[in-house]
């Protein structure tokens, strides 16, 4: 419970931080566009990784069934 609460708080702070970064890159137009596109590219890679992990039944099997 403590762990999940901590993860949720960290996730919210991360999203706020990300929004601040995006706003910063937009405000620094035109040079901020470089950072903005870097963020977009990294975001696409994160989405790819998340989708692959969500579909990976093999990883789910080992994560759920093996303890130590």
């Amino acid at each position: 419970m403590l762990e999940i609460t901590a993860y949720l708080i960290l996730a919210v702070i991360f999203i706020v931080w990300l929004i601040a970064i995006v706003v910063g890159t937009v405000m620094m137009f035109p040079f901020g566009l470089i950072g903005f596109f870097v963020l977009i590219a990294i975001g696409l890679l994160v989405i790819k990784v998340l989708r692959e992990r969500a579909k990976n039944a093999e990883d789910d099997y080992y994560a759920k069934n093996i303890d130590q």
Binding site: E3, A6, Y7, L10, E58, Y62, A63, K64, N65, I66, D67, Q68
Partner: protein
């Protein structure tokens, strides 16, 4: 409920009908054919939240259960891949099995399981055993 891998009562592990031992020879079987080296590996990592937890555990000391579980998962997956490799070659058993591990990046380790795939048959033995001469106990 805590999940654990069960401790087997006998000295021979069996997975998917493939016997796995760390010795070079069986006490109860004789090797009839050597098929060659088989291996299985994996590189696993825990998610960033568990990495943070693991880092915090270093403040208080003790077992870092996040990485214990990660290595246990790696071990099982590496063995499963090695066994799959052995089955493809038509093996009955794997002898001389060893593990090798290497750190790849922070929080991620490679675990390689390797051994020699062989075909075996029960020895004609005078020791007490069941009809087929098997002393192993399946899970």
């Amino acid at each position: 409920m805590r999940k654990t891998t069960t401790m087997r009562k006998t000295s021979i592990n069996r997975r998917n009908d493939i016997m796995i031992i760390t010795q070079d020879e069986f006490a109860d079987y004789e090797i009839t054919q050597t098929l060659g080296m088989v291996c299985g590996n994996t590189i696993r990592a825990r998610h960033v939240g568990k990495d943070i937890l693991a880092g915090l555990r270093m403040i208080v000391g003790g077992e870092i259960v996040e990485y214990t579980k990660m290595l246990a998962e790696s071990r099982e997956q590496a063995i499963d891949r090695m066994v799959k490799n052995a089955k493809m070659q038509g093996a009955d058993a794997i002898v001389g099995m060893r593990f090798v591990t290497a750190a790849v990046m922070m929080g991620a380790a490679e675990l390689l399981a390797y051994g020699t795939a062989v075909k075996v048959r029960p020895k004609n033995s005078t020791t007490s055993s069941n009809e087929s001469g098997l002393l192993i106990d399946d899970e």
